[in-house]
Point group: C2
């Protein structure tokens, strides 16, 4: 399991095979299959581990941000993108749903936990200023789409040209701050 994570972050998702995991763990090639059922099982358990870490990171960041809704939303965005940058392989796996089994209990629970952490970013704001259902849903979707899209594009290197065009030594962090400040979601 930790061997699998090592392979994932070092060699990427396409190198994460049952047999490679077995080699890294020093067991025979069929041992992982007996644990996890099949490759989808291994990937799903690993993704579940990722979701638990992810949900925890987001939750803690929002706790530390205090009560102000906008501060919470920004903290959520930083934690979201920060997790993707810190664990790009894991993050990619978590959103590679065609290789995961969402019915697996560990994964299902971990996703539900992470989603409740994300929902907490928007709920404080919704409480403060009630809106029609469509606007509430649109705010949630917009915030999620913004940070998810930023994370995906960033770890895929597709923002590097934009970052390189920035004046001075500014990097991805600066761009993210500017994006969170510029996109005044829901105001």
């Amino acid at each position: 399991m930790s061997a699998a994570e090592r392979i994932l972050e070092r060699d990427g998702i396409q190198a994460l095979t049952l047999r490679a995991t077995a080699r890294a763990a020093g067991v025979s090639h069929a041992a992982p299959a007996s644990h996890f059922g099949d490759l989808t099982g291994l990937l799903s358990e690993l993704a579940a581990l990722g979701y638990r870490r992810f949900g925890k990171a987001v939750f803690e960041a929002m706790e530390a941000a205090g009560e102000d809704p906008r501060a919470r939303m920004k903290a959520m965005g930083r934690a979201y993108v920060g997790f993707a940058r810190k664990h790009p392989g894991l993050f990619s796996l978590m959103y590679r749903s065609e290789r995961l089994d969402p019915a697996r209990p560990a994964l299902r629970d971990a996703i539900a936990e992470a989603r409740s952490a994300l929902r907490a970013a928007a709920s404080a704001r919704a409480q403060e200023q009630p809106l029609p259902p469509l606007q509430t849903a649109a705010q949630s979707a917009a915030l999620w789409a913004l940070v998810h899209g930023f994370a995906v594009l960033l770890i895929d290197g597709r923002l590097s040209a934009l970052i390189a065009s920035l004046p001075g030594e500014e990097g991805a962090d600066t761009l993210l701050e500017a994006v969170l400040a510029t996109a005044r979601v829901g105001e």
Copy 2:
């Protein structure tokens, strides 16, 4: 090539293999490899085709939207998400960069063409109201991240719970319109 696209949209990206393409095209299993070099070559050519279509769709939608910068940005968003919904397999492939070869001329050119189409969404606005470089970059990144994130989450089914919670018969289109209206990027 058209056989490959058929397989991609029907059976998904993991079923798109050299041998399956060869079978669908009625040739021997090694024929595709001699055309495209290797699997990465085939996928890259297919992604290039996708980028050309994508750039064209975005460009035409923005042409039809007139001169108003906000209308152009909304049209870009609709075209972006619309393309992803219409060709989910192709769209996924285009952003699966670990399986593509960006050095392949066809793909490199097609990406450059599509990016220039996207850039045109923000350039009109930048001309009208000059801003510091960081703000300009942040607006571009925010718009791109918003629509890309929405498209990715949508075709992965991750917005379905949110959409199901909408009142009445509202679907993804309504949510997208609300998101584009809510997220007043750069205002």
